[in-house]
């Protein structure tokens, strides 16, 4: 199981703040996870179309090559705007 979190404008676009995902076979990286989520269609296509979307694995920033595995906490969000 993967804990997925969505923040800020992405959360509003998807209409979802979190979900628990049974990690499908063959998905080992952030990039593959993004492609999987985009394949849901509709507003989820943002995972394919948005270039600025950021990801974190277990609360640390992660690139597309970053590995994901069962038990991880994975978050997606737009570029940060604090301070």
């Amino acid at each position: 199981m993967l804990k997925l979190l969505y923040f800020a404008s992405l959360r509003e676009t998807l209409g979802s703040a979190r979900e628990d995902l049974e990690l499908p076979t063959g998905i080992d990286t952030i990039a593959q996870l993004r492609a999987h989520l985009a394949s849901r269609g509709g507003s989820w296509q943002v995972f394919a179309t948005s270039k600025s979307l950021r990801a974190a694995v277990n609360q640390a920033m992660a690139g597309g090559d970053a590995p994901v595995k069962a038990g991880d906490e994975v978050a997606f969000f737009p570029p940060v705007t604090g301070g």
Partner: protein, 149 residues
């Protein structure tokens, strides 16, 4: 004392600044920064964050600053929730023996916080609510520390 706080409540700028050097007579320099909500046609601003990761990201930024400069105490407070124009958003304070280290670390922490800590701002305007776009100038500001000092 906790170096990093993420909270809805306002903070006491004077008390926080004084605490950076209190009882430490080796602290010759205290640099602070306060970020505030600007008006500019904004009625209010809501700050969302990623609980857990935020605190880790800020602690990591403090750690990097401590590796670059000789610092004594560091304090970061970042507010979340709904804020009005003129309200304080963030406090960064650094004490050091010498002023250059305090100034540099304080600005470094702000630049990194702006680009690496998971906060998001949503503005309420007369025309409705909108998420604030990240600014390229913030990336540029953070990038100039790479290889510097």
């Amino acid at each position: 004392m906790n170096e990093v706080s993420v909270q809805e409540a306002d903070f006491d700028v004077g008390a926080e600044t004084v605490a950076l050097s209190a009882g430490d007579d080796g602290a010759g320099a205290v640099a602070t920064f306060v970020g505030l909500v600007r008006g500019e046609g904004i009625r209010a601003m809501s700050l969302e964050h990623y609980p857990g990761m935020t605190e880790k990201a800020l602690a990591e930024i403090v750690e990097q600053a401590r590796q670059r400069w000789q610092l004594r105490r560091v304090r970061i407070i970042h507010r979340v929730g709904r804020l009005l124009p003129g309200d304080r958003i963030v406090f960064v304070g650094v004490s050091s023996s010498h002023r250059h280290d305090a100034f540099a670390a304080c600005e470094f922490i702000m630049d990194y916080l702006k680009t690496r800590a998971p906060f998001w701002k949503k503005e309420e305007t007369d025309a409705g609510a909108r998420w604030v776009d990240a600014r390229e100038s913030d990336d540029t500001a953070a990038a100039r520390w790479e290889g510097a000092d």
